[in-house]
């Protein structure tokens, strides 16, 4: 019994062990299966990845290519912008140069003409003096102040032809700056090669374009200043040296004519000499006119009775005139002049001074006049 019990007990133990082993085997099988599945899945993923590998390479290459293309396009745009900027500034510089050269040419022309006419003008003054000295004392006394006027004109002319004064016309402004050549493709590329992305590259390029723009604008600004200075020199010389002589001649001639007119009858035997003397004004004016013409300076065409144009007529006084309307020109007291510019236009060298009509009218008359 004991043996049988022992055997039964042993069998039972063996059965449990077997069951345990089977369970373990099952578990192992499960695990193995899972691992196999995982392996299979991994294999599959690897397979997929392996299958997709060329796409990744292409994409990666594409990204690189895209970046290169972006930078290429940025560089191209930058170069275009730079070139456009240089072209525009170069045009402005060329314009500045043309203006400088215009006023230099005009100055040279005027200088030559002044030198050419120098002796002639002084001869006319001298001649007037000689004629004056041959006149009888009574006439001399009457015309002394007029002759004084001519002598002053001669002295003003001598000052105008003084080398120091004349040289202002031809003193040339020195301009040596040039806009730097545009950056090369390689230089632009180097500039952005360390850029992290497109935005960064654009920012670097914008900064560089600003610097380039500033540098070339400074050159443009400088030439503009020189062009203005050259024009100012010409204007200053004309307004302080030549035009006051013309004014003196114009005012002297007008009054001298009146004086000679009143002397004609009493001194008819000296009429020829008086006319010859009076002719001095005309001759002087002709000489000066030739200087003006060569420099393309023209006198303003002003008609008595035309409306005042405040842009080129400077009123110095008013006067009533029943034949004319308010703010029409009654008299020109100082001639106005215009001078040609580099683009074949004319600009005001000096405003004309005029007396303008101002009638004090009753209200109703005023309305009529205005209508």
């Amino acid at each position: 019994m004991n043996k049988q019990q022992d055997q039964n007990k042993q069998d039972q133990q063996t059965d449990v062990s077997l069951q345990n082993m089977r369970r373990l085997l099952n578990m192992c099988n499960h695990k193995l299966k899972a691992n196999t599945d995982e392996i299979e899945q991994l294999k599959l993923r690897i397979q997929i990845l392996e299958q997709n590998q060329p796409d990744f390479e292409i994409k990666s290459k594409q990204i690189k290519q895209q970046k290169t293309n972006d930078f290429e396009s940025i560089i191209k745009k930058a170069r275009d912008q730079e070139q456009e900027m240089i072209d525009l500034d170069q045009q402005k510089i060329e314009l500045g140069k043309a203006i400088i050269s215009h006023w230099i040419d005009k100055g040279n022309c005027l200088k030559l003409e002044i030198e050419k006419n120098d002796k002639g003008i002084m001869c006319f003054i001298e001649e007037s003096r000689n004629i004056f000295n041959t006149l009888p004392d009574e006439l001399k006394q009457t015309l002394q102040k007029y002759q004084d006027g001519l002598e002053i004109i001669g002295r003003m002319w001598m000052r105008a032809v003084n080398t120091v004064n004349l040289n202002i016309l031809t003193d040339q402004s020195v301009f040596s700056e040039q806009i730097k050549a545009s950056l090369t493709y390689v230089e632009w590329k180097q500039l952005i090669e360390n850029a992290k992305n497109k935005e960064d590259a654009l920012h670097i390029i914008k900064r560089k374009l600003n610097v380039l723009g500033r540098n070339s604008y400074q050159i443009v600004s400088k030439i503009n200043k020189l062009a203005s200075k050259q024009q100012k020199n010409f204007f200053d010389y004309m307004n302080t040296s030549i035009l006051p002589i013309i004014d003196g001649i114009t005012a002297g001639k007008k009054q001298s004519q009146k004086a000679i007119e009143s002397l004609k009858q009493k001194h008819d035997k000296h009429l020829s000499k008086l006319n010859q003397w009076l002719d001095t004004y005309l001759q002087l004016r002709l000489k000066l006119n030739s200087c003006l013409e060569k420099s393309e300076i023209r006198q303003m065409d002003i008609q008595i009775g035309q409306d005042v144009d405040y842009n080129c007529h400077e009123p110095t006084g008013t006067s009533p005139d029943k034949k004319l309307k308010n703010e029409q020109i009654k008299e020109v007291t100082l001639e106005g002049f215009e001078v040609s510019t580099h683009d074949n236009q004319f600009t005001i060298l000096r405003n004309a001074r005029v007396i303008v009509v101002k009638n004090i009218l009753e209200d109703s008359e005023e309305n009529d006049a205005q209508s």
Binding site: K145, Y146, D148, G149, L150, I152, I153, R155, M156, R159, N210, G213, R214, N215, Y217, Q218, S221, S228, T240, P244, D247, G248, A251, G252, Q255, K258, A259, S262, V308, Y310, N311, H313, E314, P315, T316, G317, T318, S319, N326, E327, E331, T333, L334, T347, N351, R353, I355, V356, K358, Q370
Partner: protein, 522 residues
């Protein structure tokens, strides 16, 4: 056809709205440059109205000052902020204030600017005003600019603007004195500046003074008189006297005066470089018999010029001394005297300054455009409004300006029986970032007052009564809703607040009334 949309320029203009002439500049590509107005460096600040109602501004308007003086206005800046009105014959339905006329001047400037230079339509501006402009004048100036369609980013004092141009020339840590002698006015300002820091430029205004009616035009008048006196000796004709019966028409005399003025002005310029100048004007005038008279070889030496204008220059020197005294400084404290304004080109000005203050003045900047350029530099550092719609956004300079200003007048209110109660003293420092605030405590002067007029005054000197000559009324408002109480029992609190641009705000409160009123800068 597509509509052309005008785009505003992102460049901030510096505008010197002068008494005689105005100028404009822009800071571009790292430098300030003046912008020509109708091909000139400056434009006359003159407005004239034709009979048909057309308005002329600038050179063309200046021409009408003789033909039609009644309808032509110059030096309108002197009237800014004042109760002044003008009705033109050609525009009978409207009364023009100084602000209205300044609008016309500023509009002309705006429309004359070459848009290629500023890359768009002019919009943003820094407008310069004299150092001694009071609150009302500043407000009127700002309003004029805004009506001219400018967006005013700042009202900058003229000498401060000039000092900006100077400070940017190189790094400087100095106390400077800006001597500004223009065609019609003189101003002096003492400032402490520090531009040594690359990013921050600091300015501290220490004193301001001025003579409102002294300038280069007075110098010309003196010289004209000298030459005309000589002509009178020879001819018996006094071309400067339009009233005396000389048998010559007024127009002929005016014509002669004009010729003399031109010649004298040329001689004055010549004397800045030479010691002698000769004036010749053949046939300047003809007497009643028709005989010509000339300015014949009139020698004008620099000594003559000095003799004529010496006393006028001395007045400016005295004013400089007053400003030094006000700042409690001696000339030893001044590192440099900066000359601004066209009239400072006259050698005597430099000589007298040098003699009086034992210091050679500095005049390297272009005195005609220094103010506009300084304003342009300052403008470039300012940030445009958030809603700015601009064609271009210019590169901003990598520096900023900081200004500590001072109050230019004693500021206060009228109290019982015309007493001037000063709340803020002249010369008080105004820091850049915060306004100066002062509070006055008062009580109602009569029983059962329910409203009270708050009248604001300024004074160039410390005074007791508002009736004093130095005192000027600058504004008023009514504080209403005061609870009726016996006199002396209701407290009235008045706040004054003034900022770095010297713009004053006044607020008043009664102790138990929640209502408060204020004078705003806009």
């Amino acid at each position: 056809m597509s509509k052309i949309i005008e785009k505003n320029s992102g460049y901030v203009l510096g505008i010197d709205l002068g008494t005689t002439n105005s100028a404009v500049a822009v800071f571009k590509s790292g430098a300030a440059e003046h912008i020509p107005i109708e091909a000139s460096k400056t434009m006359p600040s003159v407005v004239s109205v034709l009979r048909n109602g057309d308005m002329l501004v600038g050179n063309s308007a200046k021409g009408r000052s003789i033909v039609d003086p009644d309808n032509t206005v110059s030096s309108i800046k002197r009237k800014m902020g004042e109760n002044w009105e003008k009705e033109f014959d050609g525009l009978p339905d409207k009364k023009y204030t100084p602000t209205d006329l300044s609008v016309e001047i500023l509009s002309k400037i705006k429309n004359s600017i070459d848009e290629n230079i500023i890359e768009g339509t002019a919009k943003y501006a820094v407008i310069c005003v004299p150092a001694n402009f009071d609150d009302a004048k500043k407000k009127a100036t700002k309003k004029a600019a805004e009506l001219a369609n400018f967006s005013v980013l700042w009202l900058l004092e003229e000498p401060v603007a000039a000092s900006y141009a100077y400070a940017l020339e190189r790094k400087r840590d100095q106390t400077i004195l800006v001597y500004d002698l223009g065609g019609g006015t003189f101003d002096v300002t003492i400032l402490k500046l520090n531009s040594t820091d690359t990013k921050t430029k600091r300015f501290n205004v220490l004193a301001k003074e001025g003579i409102p009616d002294l300038g280069g035009d007075d110098f010309d008048q003196r010289l004209m008189k000298r030459v005309a006196n000589d002509l009178m000796k020879h001819s018996g004709l006094d071309i400067l006297n339009l009233k005396k019966d000389q048998g010559i028409s007024v127009n002929k005399l005016l014509e002669a005066q004009q010729k003399l003025k031109d010649a004298v002005s040329n001689a004055k310029h010549e004397l800045t470089e030479s010691l002698n100048a000769v004036i010749d004007i053949p046939n300047i005038v003809h007497d009643e018999e028709g005989a010509p008279h000339h300015i014949d070889n009139f020698e004008l030496s620099r000594d003559h010029l000095n003799e004529e204008i010496g006393d006028l220059v001395q007045k400016t020197i005295d004013t400089v001394q007053t400003s030094l005294d006000n700042a409690k400084l001696t000339v030893g404290d001044i590192d440099r005297i900066i000359l601004v304004g066209g009239s400072t080109k006259i050698p005597l000005v430099k000589e007298m300054i040098e003699k009086a203050f034992k210091k050679e003045p500095y005049s390297d900047t272009d005195p005609d455009t220094a103010i506009a350029k300084g304003a342009a530099i300052f403008g470039a550092t300012l940030t445009l409004p958030a809603d700015a719609d601009t064609e271009t956004i210019p590169e901003k300079p990598n520096f900023e300006f900081f200004v500590d200003n001072i109050v230019t007048h004693h500021l206060g209110i009228e109290t019982f029986e015309g007493l001037f109660s000063c709340l803020i003293d002249k010369g008080t420092d105004i820091p850049e970032k915060e306004p100066v605030i002062a509070t006055g405590h008062y009580v109602t002067p009569r029983d059962n007052m329910t409203e009270l007029a708050i009248r604001v005054y300024q004074s160039s000197e410390q005074v007791e009564y508002i009736s004093s000559e130095e005192v000027k009324f600058i504004g008023e408002f009514f504080l209403t809703g005061i609870p009726p109480k016996p006199k002396g029992q209701e407290k009235i609190i008045v706040h004054f607040e003034i900022d770095a641009q010297n713009v004053l705000k006044v607020t008043a409160n009664s102790s138990s009334s929640s209502k408060s009123l204020e004078i705003k800068s806009e």
